[in-house]
Subunit: 404 residues, 2 copies
C-alpha cells in the first residue's frame, strides 16, 4: 500500500481470495467440464413458480416489498422456518429466527458476535471453505477436530478441553458435509452432542444440504438435542435458488439481540422483495413437491459419477458414494498431488477443487472434491474419463525412468 | 450469559439496538404521524417498471439470475455505475465498482477492511447513525470533527494530525447530510479535500442523497478531486427502492482485492436477481425521467414542512430549509431536551428522532431530525402542528411556578 494514504486493518491479512472462486473463473472458459463448483443444477430452479410469485407480490404488496423492512426478517417467512424445523423435532419460536442474506451471512454474523482475535474455534477436518473464510477475518485460532467417515470423533471433541481451552464453538455440518459428503448417523450425533455438552462447548450447526437425501432422511439435527447450546444455520439456496441469497440463523434466545444488532449493522435487512417472493412460492407446500424432483435428479447424477469413478480412477483411489448432497470426496493414491495436477486437468478440459482448500491445517494433498450436480450424467461420465486420463498419464510419467 | 455455554466477542459490547429502529417500532402503531424514519415515499417506487423488468429477467435469463454469481457484482450494472459517475466528473473503471447488499454493507466492509480496535476514525458532528453502528463493532475510537452549516471545518480536519494520529479515514456525507440536511458548497469541498490531503487522511464519501436536489445539482464529489484517497459509496435505495438492498462501493484499485475478499466472506455476492432486475429498469435512461418526479414530490413536502415549522415551532428554534435530501434538522431553544420529550410527542400522535443519536460524543440534546418524505404535505402540516403543541405545552409547564 505504498504511496497511498490507506492503512489496512490487521484482520485484512487473514482475508484471501477464494480458491474455489478463482477456479470457477478458469472453468467459465467454454469447453471445460467443471466438477469444481457447488452450483445447484439450474434445471431445479422453480422459474414458473418464481414468475407467479413475483407477479403476485408486485400486485398485492408492492409498497411493502420495496420499502425498508425489519432487520429480523419477514414475519410469515420466520414463522414458516420455525414451523418447518419444529416438524422435524426442533423446538423453535419465530422469535429465534433471523433471516439472512444467504447462509454465508449467517456464518459472518456468528464470527462477528462470537469470535475474538486469538480465541480458539474448532472445525471439522476437513471443513467448509466458506466457513473458514467467514470466521478468519475475526482472527480466531482454528483447531481441526479429527474425524472418520461418520463425522468428528467424540474423543477428539473431549480433547478440546485441553487442546483449545476457551474454544468459542465447534462448527459442524452433519448432513452430506461439504466437502466430504459424509452424513453423521444417529449414534454419532448422540456422542458428538454428549462430548460437546461434557466440555460446555457450543455448536454451530450448518445444514444447507439436509433436504438433499437420496434414500433416507438424515437423523434429527444436533440443535434438536441441545437447543440452548446450538446455533443452527439454514438456506434456501439448495432447495430453491442461490441467486436470491436467502438463509437463516436460529439462535438461542439469549443470543438473539446481539445477532439482530450485528445484522442491522451489516446490511440493515435482507431484501424484503426476495423474502416475500420466496414466502409466496413456498407457503402452500410447494417444496413438498419440488424437493423430491431435485433428489431424483441428483441421485441419477450421483450414480453416474459413482460408475464413472469406478471405471476411470486409478487403483488405490478411495471414495465413498454420498447418500445425499452434492459432492464426492476422492483420495488419490500415494504420489498424487491434487493441486499440482489441476493445471493439467484444466488443459485436458476438466476441473475440480483440490481438497487442500478445505483444511484449517495440514491439508491432505491427495484429496479432491468433485461436484455431481452441475453436469448431466453423460457429461459427468465424460468429465471423469478425462480426469482419469490425466491421472493415469501422471502415473505413467512418474514411473518412467529419467530421460538419459 | 450465565447458565449458557456461550461467550460473546468483546466487540459485541459495542453493538447496540438502533434507536431509530426502536422508534420505528413505536411509530408503527396506527394513528401516529411519523417524522422519524428515513423511509422514501412509496409513491416514488417504480412498480410498473419493476413488474416489466422482473418479467423480462425471468423470461430471458432466469437460470443466470437465480444461480450463484460473481462477488464483484453483475458486470453490466458495474459498467452502468462507472459510466454514470464518470458523467459527473469522476474517473472510475467498472473494475473499481463492487456491488453491495445496500450501502449499509458498504459501510460494514469499510470497517472490516480498514478499522482496527483502538484505531481513530473521524466522523462529522453530527453524523449518520448507521455509519456509527457499522464501524463500532470494529472498535475504533471515534473522533468528532467540528463543523458549521456548510460542512466539516477544514481547520478541524488539519487538527486531526494531533488529536487523532493514525486516523484511518474521515467519514463524510457531502450531499444533504443525514441528519442535518446540509450540503457542502464548492469552496468547502476544495478546502476539506486540501486539508485531508495535507495530513494524508483518506476519505470515505457516502452519497445516498446526491440525486435528490431541488433547485441545483450539488458540486462534484470529493472523490472526483482525490480519487486515490477516497472511497465512494452509492445506493439505489433513494432513487428506486430500498427493499431491493442495492448499493455500491467504489474503491481505489489497490484496495479492491481486500474489499472483494471481505464481500465474499460476508455474503458471497449481492442477489443476482435483484441486480439484473435493477439493471433492466435503469439501462435505458429510466432514472432521467424518474428522479425528477421524486425531486418534485420531495420539494413540495420540504416546502410544506418549512411553512409548518415557521408556524408552529417555539420562538428561538433554529433550522435551515434543506436544498435536497429527506431531512430537516431542528435545534430547539434552551431548556428543551428532544429525547425527554419524545414520549409526550408519541402520546400526542407524532414521532421524530432525537438528534443525540447522531453524535459520536457530547450530543446536543436540543436537536431533532424530522423527515419530510414519508407523509403527505397535509399530514406534515398536521404532524408539525402536533409537535408544536407538545413543545409549547412543555414551555408553559416549565414557566409555571412549583405547585405550592
Amino acid at each position: 500500500m505504498s504511496n497511498t494514504p490507506w492503512t489496512l486493518a490487521q484482520r485484512a491479512a487473514r482475508m484471501n481470495p477464494s480458491i474455489i472462486r478463482e477456479i470457477l473463473k478458469v472453468t467459465e472458459q467454454p469447453g471445460i467440464l467443471s466438477l469444481a463448483g457447488g452450483l445447484p443444477s439450474p434445471d431445479t430452479f422453480p422459474i414458473e413458480a418464481m414468475r407467479e410469485a413475483t407477479t403476485k407480490v408486485l400486485a398485492d404488496t408492492p409498497r411493502e416489498a420495496l420499502q425498508y423492512a425489519s432487520s429480523e426478517g419477514y414475519g410469515p417467512l420466520r414463522e414458516w422456518v420455525a414451523a418447518t424445523l419444529n416438524a422435524r423435532g426442533q423446538r423453535v419460536t419465530a422469535d429465534q429466527v433471523l433471516i439472512t442474506t444467504g447462509s454465508q451471512q449467517g456464518l459472518d454474523l456468528v464470527g462477528k458476535v462470537l469470535v475474538d482475535a486469538g480465541a480458539p474455534v474448532a472445525v471439522e477436518t476437513p471443513t467448509y471453505l466458506g466457513a473458514l473464510q467467514a470466521f478468519a477475518p475475526y482472527e480466531p485460532i482454528f483447531t481441526g477436530v479429527a474425524g472418520d467417515h461418520l463425522g468428528p470423533l467424540p474423543e477428539a471433541i473431549s480433547q478440546l478441553r485441553h487442546d483449545a481451552p476457551g474454544c468459542r464453538f465447534m462448527y459442524v455440518l452433519p448432513n452430506f458435509q461439504n466437502p466430504t459428503g459424509r452424513v453423521m448417523p444417529e449414534a454419532r450425533r448422540q456422542a458428538v452432542v454428549a462430548a460437546a455438552q461434557g466440555i460446555n462447548l457450543p455448536l454451530v450447526e450448518d445444514n444447507p444440504y439436509g433436504d438433499l437425501w437420496f434414500d433416507q432422511e438424515p437423523p434429527p439435527s444436533l440443535s434438536s438435542r441441545w437447543a440452548e447450546g446450538t446455533i443452527y444455520l439454514g438456506s434456501f439456496s439448495k432447495v430453491l435458488a442461490p441467486g436470491l441469497r436467502l438463509g437463516y440463523v436460529v439462535a438461542p434466545p439469549a443470543l438473539m439481540p446481539k445477532f439482530l444488532q450485528a445484522k442491522q449493522a451489516a446490511d440493515l435487512h435482507t431484501p424484503g422483495f426476495n423474502q416475500r417472493v420466496v414466502h409466496e412460492v413456498i407457503r402452500n407446500g410447494f417444496l413438498d413437491q419440488h424437493i423430491p424432483t431435485i433428489r431424483a435428479l441428483y441421485k441419477a447424477q450421483r450414480d453416474a459419477m459413482a460408475t464413472a469413478l469406478q471405471q476411470h480412477l486409478p487403483a488405490g483411489s478411495e471414495w465413498q458414494a454420498p447418500e445425499g448432497g452434492m459432492f464426492f470426496w476422492v483420495r488419490l493414491p500415494a504420489g498424487f498431488h491434487a493441486m499440482a495436477l489441476l493445471k493439467s486437468a484444466v488443459a485436458a478440459g476438466v476441473a475440480y477443487v483440490p481438497g487442500e482448500a478445505f483444511y484449517a491445517h495440514q491439508p491432505d494433498v491427495r484429496t479432491m472434491r468433485l461436484s455431481f450436480v452441475t453436469l448431466t450424467p453423460e457429461q459427468i461420465g465424460h468429465a471423469v474419463a478425462l480426469l482419469g486420463g490425466v491421472l493415469r498419464k501422471h502415473q505413467t510419467e512418474e514411473l518412467q525412468p529419467d530421460t538419459p
